[in-house]
């Protein structure tokens, strides 16, 4: 969760504002209470916008919903604090879960519109369902926070309660993004295909974070209702959303400290820009504009260097044979696969087997269907005909992450680039979720070692050479402990020396029982490496045999003639 400097920073950010506000009293206490309330909503927004990278415009709606639930429970139903608070968390979370399935699969601009539409509907209901919501006047007399036998009426008590809830929210936030989960979420956001190919269930992760973000928003809204004693449609207006967005962007969407910093800063802005009177939102807009242009990482972007912990010493007990735990002996079998795009048949009745410990080369000119075949095998594309079998089970319709969990891994022709993840973190993200941290670190070190990357587990992704990026992608694939590995042009862009190193690595993997299917476009890499080569041309297998046979095969040579007179 939080450790070292991060822990101190978070503790300081929780204690100092509260202590300062109590010391200053009065107005400052009210502002800090507001800042604490918003920090909870912003923390939730960091989950969806920061961690998932999805521009939701519904966080203000969840906030308002939480406020209304607390208002209704307090005014109409006379519920006590714990019950009304829990309901204020549950109702937005329930709404999020209900809309998640259709909404979370939308593309960014439709996702923004859909979440905005939901917010508008909520606002319309809040204004017009007068019998329940009190309409434009809202609900008056929301009771103070009362625990059985304990009344918290003083403004100090409210401040401390709000910031205690914020501390609890930070604990939940930490649990949701703890350790390797953070790396997995970064991989999911920056390279979703690679994340799926590594066994990460994208849909489930998104659902959990979206629902959690709604609950955070609801909690903040509930506290807001208690804090001002009134719930009016203003809590559902777009202004709340813009405030949360501005706090998130300005504070920094990547670190929970950003939620607190952004909320404290923007809560004070109206005070500092007093000359703008009620038009302080101009200052919000200007601050948001400056932040998005000049400091896209927000305030915590500046803290990042300081927060970077000194590198932990590499674990000693690294596992040199990451594949040895795999269920070796599983065979991949592609049977009679067909796939066409817009009338062109990219893959036309291809069958192919990869046995344990076997290295199969897949060769063919541009457009012959190699990549499509790999995509079908790994689940990124689905075939029109034919089936994919893995061991004893048919996986034709399985989703990519299910295949990865079953032991079928792949690398990508363009290795996923995630500059914000250090190589070690990148590989850790791919280690099985159930593993304990020590085991995972040992596994990740072993995988990096196999890929020839021992020297740089702390470098950032941006500083890697093309060969290192390919190696890292291979290490990522190995970390999911596959029994069959599909490699899409692993040698592209590599120098002759690097290719030799890669070949040695692949051979030793195969000798441990891993089955390999390697796509390449010429024979020099595959010739000394493979047991068997399959040559594709216009979606069909035109030659198959030992590398020597295929490189002399007239049909294979003809495939490289291209369409012309051949």
């Amino acid at each position: 969760m939080f450790a070292g400097r991060s822990l101190w920073l978070m503790a300081g950010l929780l204690v100092l504002p509260v202590a300062g506000a109590i010391a200053l009293g009065g107005y400052e206490q009210r502002i800090m209470t507001l800042a604490g309330i918003y920090a909870i909503a912003v923390l939730g927004y960091q989950l969806i916008f920061g961690r998932l990278g999805a521009l939701s415009l519904a966080q203000g709606c969840f906030f308002g919903l939480g406020a209304y639930v607390t208002g209704l429970a307090g005014v109409h139903l006379d519920w006590g604090f714990p019950a009304s608070f829990l309901a204020s968390l549950a109702v937005p979370a329930l709404l999020a879960a209900l809309v998640a399935i259709p909404v979370l699969r939308l593309e960014s601009h439709y996702f923004a519109l859909a979440t905005l539409g939901i917010s508008q509907v909520a606002l319309l209901i809040g204004v017009n369902w007068t019998e329940v919501t009190g309409g434009a006047n809202g609900l008056y007399g929301v009771p103070e926070i009362r625990f059985p036998g304990l009344s918290l009426i003083s403004s100090e008590a409210l401040l401390v309660t709000v910031w205690s809830v914020l501390a609890a929210a930070l604990v939940v936030f930490g649990a949701l993004t703890r350790g390797r989960k953070t790396h997995r979420l970064t991989l999911l956001r920056e390279a979703p295909e690679a994340a799926a190919a590594t066994g990460i269930d994208i849909g489930a992760n998104r659902l959990v974070l979206f629902v959690a973000s709604a609950a955070f928003g609801g909690a903040a809204g509930a506290l807001q209702a208690h804090s001002i004693g009134v719930v009016s449609p203003a809590v559902l207006e777009f202004q709340v959303m813009v405030t949360i967005l501005a706090m998130t962007v300005i504070g920094g969407r990547g670190h929970p400290a950003g939620a607190i910093l952004g909320a404290i800063l923007l809560a004070h802005l109206p005070e500092w820009f007093r000359f703008l009177e009620s038009h302080y939102l101009i200052a919000y807009g200007a601050a948001l504009l400056v932040a998005v242009i000049a400091m896209p990482e927000g305030l915590t972007g500046w803290l990042d260097r300081w927060l970077k912990e000194p590198a932990p010493p590499a674990p000693t007990g690294s596992d040199p044979h990451p594949s040895r735990h795999t269920r070796s002996g599983i065979e991949l079998s592609l049977r009679n696969l067909t796939k066409s795009y817009g009338g062109v048949t990219a893959v036309d009745g291809v069958s192919l087997n990869v046995a344990a410990g076997e290295i199969v080369g897949l060769i063919g000119p541009n457009g012959s269907g190699k990549s499509t075949l790999i995509n079908i095998a790994s689940g990124l594309q689905s075939p029109e005909n034919g089936s994919v079998h893995f061991g004893s089970s048919e996986i034709t319709r399985s989703r990519p992450h299910e295949r990865a969990l079953a032991g079928l891994a792949r690398t990508f022709q363009t290795p996923p680039a995630v500059p914000s993840l250090a190589p070690m973190a990148f590989v850790l993200a791919a280690c099985p979720a159930g593993m304990d941290d020590g085991q995972a670190e040992a596994l990740a070190c072993g995988c990096l070692e196999r890929a020839g990357l021992t020297a740089l587990p702390q470098a950032t992704g941006a500083a890697l050479s093309p060969a290192q990026r390919r190696g890292l992608d291979l290490a990522r694939a190995l970390a999911s402990r596959p029994s069959v590995l599909l490699l899409d042009e692993p040698a592209a862009g590599l120098t002759p020396d690097e290719r030799t190193g890669l070949a040695t690595c692949l051979k030793s993997l195969a000798s441990e029982g891993l089955g390999l299917l390697i796509v390449d476009h010429s024979m020099d890499f595959l010739l000394p490496l493979t047991d068997r080569v399959v040559c594709l041309a216009t979606g069909k297998v035109v030659a198959e045999g030992t590398p020597e046979e295929v490189s002399r095969d007239p049909a294979a040579i003809a495939a490289y003639f291209g369409s012309g007179d051949s």
């Binding site: 259709p102 939308l106 519109l113 539409g117 508008q120 509907v121 807009g285 504009l289 896209p296």
Partner: protein, 300 residues
């Protein structure tokens, strides 16, 4: 009630054709830079206030009765707004052109907020009446009286939509705007200046928003907080009309206007709004890539 139908239809078409101008500008920017201009509605509002100011400046000189006052105000409003569009692109787009589109989305939210509250500070929250496009008596059709102002709004909006269409299809500049929007990289490689195209697109898009602002400001007044709803209508029109399609967005916007007026007259305005949002959510539920599908090859 039947007697009101012609006037309601005219009202709806007038509102819808103003929406169509807004949506047109919205799509032009989406096509050119791949980002949603969240401030498009606030720019409509700004156009309304520019028209209010220009109207106050011009009327003492030209007089209310002069037939040229309205059209001249419209023209000047569009020129001022085109300049504002250039400034807008310098602030909201140029510094972020190498960043992901979501950054532009946020910068336009920020600028929209600034516009809205600057207008609030300058003019106060109360609605103001913009200048009329035309001073004329109503048109008597049998028992029905139809407002000439509304007819003029429809005519002006139709003219502007037509002119935009001609600009885009019949002029070398328009062809270049479309080419640069469809494939910026290749446009640059075959000799087209992409940066100029984007600047011109923003100027045009904001001028259209400004025109809509003036056209709406007489009948519906203009207030600083109006922007959000205009932007939403444009956003919905683009989603229903096929992401990136100018004709689809304009048509959808027109239908939204008619739907809104008829629903408001026979049921209630709230029902019109709620059905509109529910409708677009239902569409996205069934067709996650929009009603007409996101055209893989973006067309104009």
């Amino acid at each position: 009630m039947g007697d009101a139908v012609p006037q309601l239809l005219v009202n709806g078409i007038a509102l819808g054709s103003a929406y169509a101008l807004i949506a047109l500008g919205f799509v032009l920017v989406i096509n050119a830079v791949g980002a949603v201009n969240f401030a498009q509605g606030d720019l409509v509002m700004a156009g309304g206030f520019v028209a209010v100011i220009l109207g106050e400046l011009l009327t003492p000189h030209l007089g209310d009765a002069t037939a040229a006052t309205g059209p001249l105000t419209l023209l000047l409003t569009m020129l001022v707004m085109a300049a504002m569009g250039l400034l807008f692109s310098l602030l909201a787009y140029v510094p972020l052109r190498k960043k992901p589109p979501v950054s532009v989305f946020i910068s336009t939210i920020a600028l929209g907020l600034i516009l809205q509250h600057a207008a609030n500070a300058g003019f106060g929250p109360e609605p103001r009446t913009g200048p009329a496009l035309l001073q004329a008596d109503g048109l008597q059709l049998g028992p029905v009286l139809i407002s000439m102002q509304q007819i003029a709004v429809i005519g002006a909006a139709g003219l502007l939509i037509g002119a935009t269409g001609l600009l885009l299809t019949r002029t070398q500049l328009g062809r270049r705007l479309r080419a640069a929007a469809q494939d910026p990289e290749i446009a640059e490689a075959v000799g087209i200046n992409g940066a100029t195209c984007i600047a011109v697109t923003f100027a045009l898009a904001v001028a259209l928003a400004g025109a809509a602002g003036m056209l709406l400001s007489n009948q519906f007044f203009v207030a600083p907080g109006d922007g959000g709803l205009f932007m939403l209508k444009a956003y919905i029109a683009v989603t229903l009309g096929g992401w990136g399609r100018l004709d689809g967005a304009a048509l959808a916007a027109l239908l939204i206007g008619v739907f809104e007026v008829l629903m408001a007259a026979y049921v209630s305005y709230v029902a019109a709004e709620a059905l509109l949002y529910a409708g677009v959510l239902a569409v996205l539920l069934v067709r996650p890539s929009g009603l007409l599908g996101e055209t893989i090859q973006r067309r104009t």
